[in-house]
Subunit: 282 residues, 2 copies
Amino acid sequence: MNPTQWFTEQAPGDEVAFSLAIKQKLHEEQSPFQHLEIYETKSFGNLMVIDGCTMVSTRDNFFYHEMMSHPVLFTHPNPKRVLIIGGGDCGTLKEVLKHPGIEHALQIDIDERVTRLAEIYFPELCSSNNDPRAELQFIDGIKWIKQAAPQSIDIIIVDSTDPVGPAEGLFGVDFYRDCYACLSENGLLIQQSESALLHMNLIAAMRDAMRSAGFAELQTLFFPQCIYPSGWWSATIASKTELTGFREHDSANKPFATVYYNSDIHKGALAQPEFFKQAFPK
Amino acid sequence: MNPTQWFTEQAPGDEVAFSLAIKQKLHEEQSPFQHLEIYETKSFGNLMVIDGCTMVSTRDNFFYHEMMSHPVLFTHPNPKRVLIIGGGDCGTLKEVLKHPGIEHALQIDIDERVTRLAEIYFPELCSSNNDPRAELQFIDGIKWIKQAAPQSIDIIIVDSTDPVGPAEGLFGVDFYRDCYACLSENGLLIQQSESALLHMNLIAAMRDAMRSAGFAELQTLFFPQCIYPSGWWSATIASKTELTGFREHDSANKPFATVYYNSDIHKGALAQPEFFKQAFPK
């Protein structure tokens, strides 16, 4: 038998690494924006890697995609128009479209190749791409949002890679200001916000930028994500108006299936670890 | 500069691996029971490794030790006598002794060398070892508990290694039956119960064994633990009587500091992921 081959991600700066045993490399290319790799792993299904960082695996992507969509959708009183920036693997789009009230979900990822590869290697994530409410555009989201109609979007989901490379601008105050302008009255933005064990400096800078952009309230959710550094991830909701909880009854009676998310998990994800509360008091 | 050296744990059977960059190996020995290694890592402080598995790091042990102690202690109405089986690094003992109501905390780890190394390389975890309420014994916990006085202990914390090697018996029905017998009327047992992403078979077997031993109700808690496989760990409380929540007021007004745990985190940790609820309905 051949010795086991591994794909390893070294989290930059943190001197931790995560590895998955692989059966074979299925694909590799340099897109105009990023280096893309697809592996078949031994026990996590397929794995997409962008610029050396694990992005999505068949086995555990449900944590991330469910937690980037359902909490924010059940926090907004009546979301109809959703914008996803990034999210090229289409897993977040699929979760968003499970909500019957959604009228239009626009996914803007700068790199069309991510979606084309997801269609081949993660078809289960792309099963709603032909939903008539879905629109996929492959352009620069940062530019697009500058010209978006004011107050035209209920929820913006920033489903980005790490804040280096193409996604760097997605963590900055100029971008958040443009998001603020095109969000409707009760508008919400959610941004994947890295690991509270490893990236507190980044979270602090992001929160400052969100506040400077005018957002009234921030709410950070915590959830497991095995293939991301530390295995413990977060997402931060920024709200134009004060938050008063979430639609718990609707969440508890959601008309669709999930693997991780439910209304108890939603409440639980909002619990702030002691060190986080002390770092970011209200 | 030398190339980076890493300590890597391959989770058995799951084909995932976790690595920490190391500065140097500080110690290595074969105790009568296990292979023990201590490393100085680059960004996680010191690391103890037992039989090739990461056990405790300076940087992130607070998750595990706080979640193995405070939830179960705040669930019992009035805990006075605590038994820790395993737990040789003394981090759980330290958290237990933060509760002023505790009169006696007995730690029984089969391997004295674990504690002697913790005293040297994790002195902050051993700072309560000389508390007059603490008693440390280095004997076989499985044997000890067979002869323990009936109903003499309020809480048993099974702070064990994985259920292979010396800890295998700690996940079995005979051991749980002996625990049940020596627990007082409202007695609780908590057992570290591995990862719900990777080890559902193990959790199922453990739950069956706990029920067969007579425990009336089980409650699984979820929490991050970066250095353990998948980064997402669990602990399971087994109760002799029906559980009616926890002492939330006492938890919210606890007279001691924590890094992760607080009453919101306690409630949040009890939220059952959808797939877990479906696998283990009440």
